[in-house]
Symmetry: C2
């Protein structure tokens, strides 16, 4: 009956057990196993000196054992990752990577093949084309890889993963900004009349997503800067921020996907019209982009929820390497 296996602290019992065995009854002074020690003839001074030495030895041994235990625990943790777990991990990470790159490639293909590529300020319709490509690049591909870095880089130092996480999110910012300007321009410069901004559900969801993304970036970057300035004083605050930042990070990614699928629906209805219901080539391409984003939502949520996949990071946090 191993119902304890879901408990967050199944290791407590064995470790406590392990600790109990030898708080080192000083073996050199008690050489006989079962019998009581023989009467000693040393004087009190010698005795005290011996005691101090014994205590030092004890402490050293304890320290050694602590290290051994730590190593043992790590080894066990690594070993618990059997062949199946590695296969599953590799499979979902590869799948997520394919979907992250595939959805961007498919969006590019859709725009270039069916909507004549890009332009800036000259042709509002072609300027609009920058919007879906750049938003998918920023909110999905860059952000997605940035989130997955914490699962992909399982053996790197946490500080490098953090830096790369920031760089990937920083790369998303110009994509999102230019993508946003592109759609505003294409609406405002539309002929014969300008198209209103911020009326549709898509635009509202997109606005909330951009807001959450900005807050997440500022809070993350601030906490990251504080780390470099006064590491010790902010450790508690930063530690309490980690799960909130992670939770809202996944939520922002999900909202980006919700914004994308509503945007794709809008664009499909507006540009395909009655053709959409015939499921012609372009309709299938648009739906496939949407479904690859939905598949991404499923895979990324699964990867992030799997506690095992973030084991290495946990150990690094445990060593105070926040």
């Amino acid at each position: 009956m191993d119902s304890n296996s879901v408990s967050p602290m199944p290791e407590l019992a064995p470790i406590a057990e392990f600790d109990k065995t030898p708080p080192t009854p000083p073996e050199d002074t008690l050489p006989m196993d079962d019998l009581p020690p023989p009467p000693t003839t040393v004087n009190m001074h010698d005795e005290k000196e011996k005691d101090v030495k014994d205590k030092e030895k004890e402490k050293e041994e304890e320290r050694k054992k602590e290290k051994e235990k730590e190593a043992h625990r790590r080894y066990e943790d690594e070993n618990q990752w059997g062949c199946g777990s590695w296969l599953e991990y590799t499979l979902v990470i590869v799948l997520a990577s394919i979907l992250l790159l595939g959805s961007l490639a498919l969006t590019l293909f859709w725009i270039i093949k069916y909507h004549d590529g890009f332009s800036w300020r000259e042709n509002p319709k072609k300027q609009f084309n920058l919007h879906p490509v750049l938003m998918v690049a920023g909110f999905i591909t860059f952000s997605g890889f940035s989130i997955l870095l914490y699962r992909i880089c399982r053996c790197c130092r946490r500080i490098y993963v953090k830096l790369l996480h920031t760089v990937f999110h920083a790369l998303a910012i110009p994509c999102v900004a230019v993508g946003f300007v592109a759609v505003l321009d294409s609406h405002n410069l539309n002929e014969p009349a300008a198209i209103p901004n911020f009326y549709s559900l898509h635009s509202w969801i997109g606005f909330v997503t951009m807001g959450l993304f900005a807050i997440q970036f500022v809070v993350g970057f601030f906490s990251f800067l504080v780390l470099l300035c006064c590491e010790g004083a902010t450790a508690g605050f930063r530690a309490s921020l980690v799960p909130i930042h992670a939770s809202f990070g996944l939520t922002t990614f999900m909202l980006a996907i919700a914004a994308a699928v509503t945007g794709l629906t809008e664009k499909a209805i507006f540009s395909l019209g009655a053709r959409y219901s015939t499921l012609d080539d372009e309709s299938i391409v648009v739906n496939t982009i949407g479904m690859s984003l939905i598949a991404l939502a499923i895979v990324v949520a699964y990867i992030l929820q799997r506690d095992e996949f973030r084991f290495r990071a946990h150990i690094l946090i445990r060593s105070g390497d926040l």
Copy 2:
């Protein structure tokens, strides 16, 4: 420097410390503190008997201490929930409940006020009206409350929460089924020509959501039934299933929201046409339904990711009450 506070096992060190102190060097045989014990005069048989007794005593003391520690840990866990945590917990649960009921109420209001209510088979347009209301009721309100039960019922026995979880999801099934038939009928009975089924991104997302929901229900119900039949033999399997079921549960809820916002976008464009961009009353109502669903996604994801909110359940799992 309390960087350990994010570690899953910050209690290890003190517990180990605590354990180390008294693996009870048999105090009654070693009454003097600093001096080496006097030569004993007891014979070997007595000595062994004493040893056995001592060991028994040790074990009993260990057991007592284990119990004390467990009680202490529970007490600490409860106490860590300060005023702020309770306030936060109450706030987000109330907010989620308002959004779950509010989005359904708003959908009903939208359909009754702007689309003349419901009908069955007589008027395809009115039959369609059942689709958004029943889908929001099933996939959002019932499913949402069903998910949140594990955070709302923090003091109930886990088995009752599970039963209620199943009942709420079971109530969602007829809603989803009738909602699905309603849209198929309204498409097929449409005049002058039938509307094709399953061409839009909304329908594809909805299909995946229904599939995931069905798999989740069957797997959950199966594991729940197995629990009643042979509890002990399946504990390990069920324990390993819990995080996967929970992860896919949240994902299904998110996909339902993605399906809903794409559906709302479709309906707004088809039925409002150019009026949508003027942001008239109905447009605002439709967008508000969408945004309340987005708010729900944020709040529910936040509640589920907050480990503290599921503490009680963890304790119950830890006690083997799976």
